[in-house]
């Protein structure tokens, strides 16, 4: 277990290093110098200011020095300086993290609490009308763009209540907080619930074909016991992995949903930074997202070890 943990942590660092390299060079493909773009966006060019800024950003340095400077800063929590709010980017990002985290958490909760039971039902009732209906619903969940779902919810709310739900940044009660996050979380969660459901279904079907299921039936176990005790316990393992992968998948949904519902979260901040061409912040934000995703996957791997008695990670 310990050896595996060390190896897994090492691989994680390698991956993060790779990601940092990719991000760093990707944002330097940008035609023209970042400073030129910043100034072009600002609309004026003062050579002295430009030289100052170049120095401040360290663009006059060799690439390796620039990279080390960036990563060093990132590790110390120096996420750059937002030119729009004129504050250090970290100050912009920190208050946004709990917003996005709550949204993501609630979406994952929806995804698991709806996706897993429906997936099991669909597999157990394989080939019936119910299975067909559930499969169509899950496929449509994968087909509706989540931003459109958000827009539809807004349209419906206008049609029914005459107004759009407005994001409440300071909910007073627990219920208010839930109401604030539930609708956008449902818009994001629909898609991942659909994915969870499909994975649960195919994982269940795979398990239901196994010999030990036949053994359980041969013992005289009822369908319910076979499906929920024997099959689900085995089928849930791949589902855990997928929910981990969904953490990454969810971020795409969060980006558009935070934009549609006008929620001041981290994901929308990335879009804004890209639109302002605030590349230092984009670079740090993407790196931050990558760290979160990689840690989520790591956590899931560890969870897997807890749930599956066969895996003790001895190698």
């Amino acid at each position: 277990m310990f050896a595996y943990l060390v190896r897994r942590l090492f691989l994680m660092l390698v991956t993060l290093f790779g990601i940092s390299i990719v991000i760093f060079f990707l944002l330097r493909i940008v035609p023209g110098n970042i400073v030129d773009i910043l100034f072009a966006a600002a609309g004026y060019v003062d050579p002295a200011d430009k030289a100052n800024l170049e120095k401040e950003l360290g663009i006059d340095q060799p690439l390796v020095v620039q990279y080390l400077h960036w990563i060093g800063g990132f590790l110390r929590g120096d996420f750059g300086y937002s030119y729009v709010s004129e504050k250090p980017a970290l100050q912009e990002i920190l208050p946004r993290i709990p917003i996005t985290a709550r949204l993501a958490g609630l979406a994952l909760l929806f995804s698991a609490s709806i996706g897993i039971p429906l997936g099991v039902i669909s597999a157990v009732k394989q080939g019936t009308k119910l299975d067909y209906a559930l499969r169509v619903v899950s496929l449509s969940g994968l087909s509706l763009p989540s931003f459109w779902l958000g827009l539809l919810i807004l349209t419906a709310s206008v049609a029914m209540f005459g107004q759009m739900p407005i994001f409440n940044p300071n909910p007073q009660t627990w219920l208010e907080a839930f109401a604030t996050y539930a609708v956008p979380a449902a818009a994001v969660g629909f898609r991942s619930a659909a994915l969870t459901m499909r994975i649960t279904r195919s994982s269940m079907l795979e398990v239901l074909r196994q010999d030990y299921i036949r053994t359980a039936r041969a013992k005289g176990a009822s369908d319910a016991a076979v499906n929920y005790q024997h099959a689900l316990k085995n089928a849930i393992l791949p589902v855990i992995t997928v929910i981990g992968i969904e953490a990454a998948f969810l971020i795409g949904g969060l980006i558009v949903t935070e934009t549609v519902f006008n929620i001041p979260g981290v994901a929308r901040f990335l879009v804004e930074a890209i639109r302002w061409r605030d590349y230092p912040i984009v670079q740090n934000l993407v790196m931050f997202i990558a760290v979160v995703v990689v840690f989520a996957n790591f956590t899931v791997d560890m969870l897997y070890a807890v749930f599956d008695p066969r895996i003790r990670y001895t190698d």
């Binding site: 991956t15 493909i29 087909s143 998948f249 795409g252 879009v271």
Partner: protein, 297 residues
């Protein structure tokens, strides 16, 4: 014991459905949803091809006098804030979605096949490097990667295609690699080797054709997701630039303002995206059931 209708049971199991057309008809009957998906895909492709004939107005012509017109006999789906006909823009938008869908899937899948075959075949350090690079690419959410890439490359159709194709490469390559590794152990590959066939020839003649089924299944499954990613990118204003009628762009945030005043601007493009993606997903699902017996339920 209940009476059993043997003919009915056999028909349900597909007995007698051999031959090309009869087999296809049987499959269509068994996979009704898949057949529906195929029809949607065909309609979608025909719309894109014959957009010029089908559209009632030029999708780019601005007509300020008729801005934000409600759906009517003239403008079936109304007009947008520039007075452009929404129906015609949706018809032409099919071209962009089709171009992006086919373009990035083909690009991503072809590079993925080459990378996967090479990596599965050469093993050693090439494989190791591939594994780490794909770890890196897969750790970044698809949309984030595509966003950063279009931001870096600049918004244009080819750049969007590239930006969406790149995250696809490791997904395809992983499947092909796994298949290649499994196939290399197969007796017929051993046999080909023993009669002195070259590795490249074995890879192209024996291994590649045998990975075709999972490749087709995967590519179809990805088609819908590429269309969705393009829509998301364009929705965020970082995909296909104005004035081209991309469905996602038509829904771009300004649509949030029209939710109140012009819901047709929200509803119709969304239906177009959802339907196109739904069609490919339905078809992809049926295809997987048919071609991938391991997954067959």
């Amino acid at each position: 014991m209940a009476a059993i209708d043997y003919d009915l049971e056999l028909k349900r199991a597909g007995a007698g459905a051999t031959g090309g057309w009869r087999r296809a008809l049987f499959l269509a009957q068994r996979h009704v949803l898949g057949a529906a998906g195929l029809i949607i895909m065909i309609v979608f492709a025909l719309t894109a091809i014959f957009a010029n004939v089908l559209a009632r107005f030029d999708p780019l012509t601005v007509d300020a006098a008729h801005a934000l017109a409600r759906p009517s006999a003239l403008h079936w789906m109304g007009t947008d804030s520039f007075g452009r006909d929404v129906f015609s823009r949706i018809i032409h938008g099919a071209r962009i979605s089709l171009a992006v869908g086919i373009g990035s899937t083909t690009l991503g899948a072809s590079i993925g096949v080459i990378v996967g075959l090479t990596s599965g075949y050469l093993s050693g350090w090439v494989d190791l490097v591939f594994q780490r690079v794909s770890d890196v690419l897969q750790a970044l959410p698809l949309l984030v990667l595509a966003l950063v890439m279009t931001a870096a490359l600049g918004p244009s159709l080819p750049n969007v295609i590239i930006a969406i194709a790149i995250p696809l490469i490791p997904t395809v390559a992983r499947v092909i690699r796994a298949n290649t590794l499994a196939l290399r152990e197969q007796p017929f590959v051993e046999a080909a080797k023993s009669i002195g066939m070259s590795e490249v020839r074995i890879a192209l003649r024996h291994v590649l054709p045998n990975t075709l089924a999972p490749l087709i299944v995967l590519a179809t499954a990805q088609l819908g997701s590429t269309i969705l990613t393009e829509a998301s990118l364009s929705f965020l204003g970082l995909g296909i630039p104005e004035p081209y009628p991309s469905w996602g762009r038509m829904l771009s945030e300004s649509a949030a303002e029209y939710v109140r005043t012009a819901p047709w601007l929200v509803i119709f493009p969304g239906i177009a995206i959802s339907l196109a993606v739904f069609g490919t997903n339905l078809f992809g699902d049926a295809l997987r059931d048919i071609l991938d017996p391991r997954q067959r339920g």
